[in-house]
Amino acid sequence: MGEQLLQLLFSGLTVGSIYSLMGLSIVSLFNITGILNLAQGEFVVIGALIAVSLCSIGMPMIVVFPVSILLAALLGGLIERLTINRARGASNLNMLIITIGISISLRGLALLIWGTDTYSLPAFTKGGPLFLGGAALNPQSIWIFALAVVNFAGMYLFFEHTYWGKAVKASVNNRTGARLQGINPHTISLLAFVTAGGLGAAAGVSIGPITMVTYDMGFMLGVKGFVAAAIGGLSNVSGAVIGGLFLGILEAFSSGLISSSLKDAISIIILILVLLFRPEGIIGAKRERKI
């Protein structure tokens, strides 16, 4: 029994790290641009599919990882210039609808290029599972967890300890004030999407070895990331990370102990409950404004 629970905890933490990564990207883009990016899941899928193609021409994983991130980051930037930037000044609702459009287009593009096949990606490190307390832990889970930690720490360092991070915070706090100092909000929006693309690919390439990759898996990932973000109140980065882990563990335990058909229903139920009763998030306090 104890081993089974530990096993569920491990798989919950693995899936939870994936959701945390998704939530982290969604929240930081939202904080910086005010845009709720419903295409974040597609960035993940495109990143993973690019990696699939790079692997198939024989590139080693150590090269595939950064190259896919780079390409997806470029794609993120390109999309920002072609859509979000064109719609400057549009309401947040319109921006949200634009991101839905981006998501549909990217899914279509992925279908055209990669088809409906299910692809797999090689794990970062060879070797079988580790056994801890009688439960098996996939080494790739550790990589995913590490990526979530690095991502979180990197974001913290960027915002708290770099000049550019402060410029971004300034632009979020007071757009006019920032413009008057020469901080260009359009450049910041571009960088935010470049980062979202890159982080999405990093997540995609890391989870690919565990989840397999199909052109249409982005939607559900996006939903889970959104739920993780909503648990943290949408603007709280640590809230989204904790929210993601919480959601992953909850899913693992409910499908392990009750029924696996509950898995996706759980997140939707949580989302509805949060939006109904605590729209400011379960974790963390309310914050007022963004750009």
Binding site: Y163, A167, A170, N173, G177, A178, R179, L180, Q181, G182
Partner: protein, 239 residues
């Protein structure tokens, strides 16, 4: 230094600036007076690139800057301290000042520490508050921070939009004295004010605006002597 020719600015159908021409000479402190809604902020905002003009030309050191963005204009040497101050309330005083140097940050990071020291020398009241959040400062200190942040861009031309609004007379005096000292260091200043008396004391020349146009120009003495202006502005605002 700054020449504005036949400038017109609209907000939708509101004609906020009507065919204004003016010149700011290098090294002077020009005061612009005018009632609420006269178009003073719109004029400064347009010169600083926040608002796009419908017609006219803005020349800075004989080069056209008309229609450029505020990000471009600040790097040319014009800095606006806006009416609402627009400081970064969620950032520290130090970060606010550092970000004032954003447009030149890549070129010279090293000079920043000295510049901060210099600014704190100009505004000693900010000393010891560097780590505090800007939003926690009093109104007077926030205004000083706004000016200090503007100075961090090393402007040749400083545009100030009603810096004395809401501040105690003693602090207004302090700020005016600082502006006079800044002028001595070679910064050209345009000061928009309703707090007329204290502004006229430091002015080299004065413009009076009314409903989007300029109605009077002259030296502070001429403006003070003009009875219609006396009645409209000087009788009301006391400092």
């Amino acid at each position: 230094m700054l020449r504005i020719k036949n400038l017109s600015v609209y907000y939708g159908y509101v004609h906020a600036i009507k065919d204004i021409s003016l010149e700011v000479k290098e090294g002077e402190l020009l005061v612009i007076l005018g009632a609420n809604g006269a178009g003073k902020s719109t004029l400064l905002g347009t010169a600083a690139g926040l608002i796009k003009p419908a017609a006219g030309e803005i020349l800075f050191n004989n080069k056209a800057v008309t229609g450029q963005t505020s990000e471009q204009i600040v790097s040319k040497g014009i800095s606006l301290i806006p009416e609402k101050r627009e400081i970064f309330t969620t950032l520290t005083v130090l970060d606010n000042l550092l970000l004032g140097a954003f447009h030149r940050y890549r070129k010279n990071k090293e000079g920043l520490k000295n510049d901060i020291k210099e600014i704190l020398g100009i505004f000693p009241a900010l000393k010891g508050r560097e780590r505090d959040l800007a939003g926690s400062l009093s109104g007077g200190l926030q205004q000083m921070l706004a000016i200090g942040r503007g100075l961090m861009s090393r402007p040749a031309l400083l545009l100030l939009d009603e810096p004395s609004v809401g501040l105690a007379p003693l602090i207004v005096q302090e700020i005016m004295a600082i502006l006079v000292n800044l002028k001595k260091t070679g910064v050209t200043i345009v000061l928009v004010e309703q707090n007329t008396k204290s502004a006229l004391k430091v002015a080299d020349s004065v413009l009076v605006m009314e409903r989007g146009g300029i109605t009077h120009r002259g030296s502070p003495l001429e403006i003070t002597a003009n009875s219609s202006i006396q009645e409209a502005y000087l009788g009301r605002a006391r400092s």
